[in-house]
């Protein structure tokens, strides 16, 4: 229980730290690009304006939050180690598991708040233009958060063994790309033999299947590729396993 309370305190401080880094400036970028694109979509997409603005807004929301998630998770712990701030934290009764859990939880919370604010901006724009949001809207936003939580969890782990924040961002971005290629990898595996098939099958074990959470692309009319129980378990595993491995690496570091 005390570990949980400590983790929550660390999370609270980390959230405030993210707030001070002015991540909300990204909202202005989002709002500006969205309004500009909606004006263009109104002219070019004519009767498909609602669909185009919805799709563009959701995609932009995901990419902007992804950029922040990668940058923030790549430097969340390593920067504290470089600036020696971590000495101050760990010299107090803060256990390493609680510290790590708190840092990760703060990132998940920041991503959720970013998505919530951007979704409000997006919905306001749709409302101003007299357009109704798609039925899948809230599900799409929630699933974007799931994808971002998975990649943030992986990026935190990568940051503990990579040589720089840039390499963490690059590796995580590659993981993000591969995570969307699982259907294509499955198709290739079914047509390949020998080493190629083995490689593709093995890769599927360690690459998160982000297409499972791609409700934005699947829309409401398409049958979901997996049930909600499996998705919840899969998400939980992708949060817990990188955390446990991060903990192994983090325990070995000497401060």
């Amino acid at each position: 229980m005390s570990h949980l309370l400590t983790a929550l305190k660390v999370a609270g401080h980390s959230f405030a730290e993210n707030y001070r880094s002015r991540f909300f400036a990204l909202f202005l970028v989002f709002a500006g690009v969205l309004i500009y694109s909606s004006l263009l979509a109104g002219v070019m997409a004519v009767d498909e304006e609602a669909r185009v603005i919805t799709d563009f807004g959701l995609a932009l929301m995901e990419l902007i939050t992804l950029a922040y998630a990668l940058m923030a998770s790549a430097s969340a712990i390593t920067r504290e180690m470089e600036t020696k701030t971590i000495y101050l934290v760990l010299s107090r009764p803060v256990s390493r598991p609680a510290y790590l859990a708190g840092r990760a939880a703060a990132l998940y919370a920041v991503l959720a708040s970013m998505l919530a604010v951007m979704a409000l901006i997006h919905l306001s724009l749709l409302w101003v233009r007299g357009l109704a949001p798609a039925p899948m809207y809230l599900k799409a936003v929630a699933f974007i958060w799931c994808k971002l939580a998975v990649i943030t969890s992986a990026a935190l782990f990568i940051s503990l063994f990579s040589t720089s924040a840039v390499s963490t961002v690059v590796i995580a971005a590659i993981l993000w790309t591969l995570g969307h290629f699982t259907a294509e990898a499955r198709f290739l595996a079914s047509r390949s033999t020998g080493a190629a098939a083995v490689l593709l099958s093995t890769a599927s074990l360690v690459i998160p299947d982000l297409q499972l959470f791609n409700a934005r692309d699947l829309a409401s009319s398409v049958p979901a590729p997996a049930g909600p129980a499996f998705l919840a378990a899969y998400l939980l595993l992708w949060l817990v396993v990188p955390y446990l491995f991060s903990l192994l690496l983090f325990r070995k570091k000497e401060f």
């Binding site: 109104g42 070019m44 997409a45 004519v46 009767d47 498909e48 304006e49 669909r51 185009v52 799709d55 563009f56 995609a59 990419l63 993000w176 790309t177 969307h180 290629f181 699982t182 259907a183 294509e184 990898a185 499955r186 198709f187 099958s201 599927s204 074990l205 360690v206 690459i207 998160p208 299947d209 982000l210 297409q211 499972l212 791609n214 934005r216 692309d217 699947l218 829309a219 009319s221 398409v222 049958p223 590729p225 997996a226 499996f230 378990a233 899969y234 595993l237 992708w238 817990v240 396993v241 446990l244 491995f245 903990l247 192994l248 325990r251």
Partner: protein, 236 residues
């Protein structure tokens, strides 16, 4: 075991994650067509690869639909080359129309309005009903319960039999849908007018005027309503 509890826990959970990943890899089925169904159109390969790798199929389909409308909104290539005068809207060869429409469907096979717009344009404006039927059959393979496709298929059948009244009757349920492509509404109004049902034509043109944002269709609807009003003795 007691010495390295974290290690054993991490390894155990990693094994569970691998099993879940394996199940997700083998047990789930992508609702999208395989990647080899995406044919390159107008040097689309790089854009398509980016869209797939970022999970942006739907947005890519939107962009290609806008491109299709821009292509179809311009004079057809052969008439532009021949320097021909104004021709009936939508008529012409438009050789890239079908590949572009297929491209949209390969990216997002659930983009119903794009499929209806493309099939309707092929069948009724470009007089290519066989291609429209084949295209709709492809679309139906992904959405077999989509009644709008079935309705349009029937309408194309009546159109081939040169029965405009029956075509108009068949597509009426489609026209009542709030998101029906304006091109089909325009077609419904035109066919009703041709079949002598001026009241129905007037009502559909009124719907176009009230709901569409496409200036071409709006201007055309206004002109047609002005022509039909004296026939109906209806106020404008």
């Amino acid at each position: 075991m007691k010495k390295y509890p974290d290690l054993y826990l991490a390894l155990f959970s990693a094994v569970v994650l691998c099993l879940a990943g394996r199940w997700a890899f083998l047990g789930t089925r992508s609702p999208f067509p395989p990647p080899d169904s995406i044919r390159e159109v107008r040097r689309s390969a790089v854009g398509d690869a980016i869209a797939l790798s970022l999970g942006l199929r739907r947005l890519a389909a939107d962009v290609w639909f806008i491109r299709l409308m821009q292509y179809y909104g311009a004079p057809s290539p052969e008439s532009a080359e021949a320097g021909a005068g104004p021709q009936e809207y939508g008529a012409g060869a438009y050789p890239e129309f079908l590949p572009m429409a297929r491209h949209i469907l390969a990216l997002d096979p659930y983009f119903t309005n794009a499929a209806l717009f493309s099939a309707g344009s092929l069948a009724f404006n470009m007089n290519r009903p066989e291609e429209a039927v084949a295209f709709l059959e492809d679309a139906m393979s992904f959405a077999p319960r989509e009644w709008k496709y079935a309705t349009l298929l029937s309408a194309i059948g009546y159109s081939k039999a040169k029965d405009p009244r029956k075509v108009a009757e068949t597509i009426t349920p489609l026209l009542n849908e709030p998101d029906c492509p304006v091109m089909l509404r325009q077609l419904g109004a035109f066919l009703n007018k041709k079949a002598g049902d001026y009241a129905a034509a007037y009502r559909i043109y009124g719907d176009i005027l009230a709901t569409s944002k496409d200036p071409f269709y709006v201007d055309n609807a206004r002109r047609e309503m002005e022509k039909l009003a004296p026939l109906l003795r209806a106020p404008l």
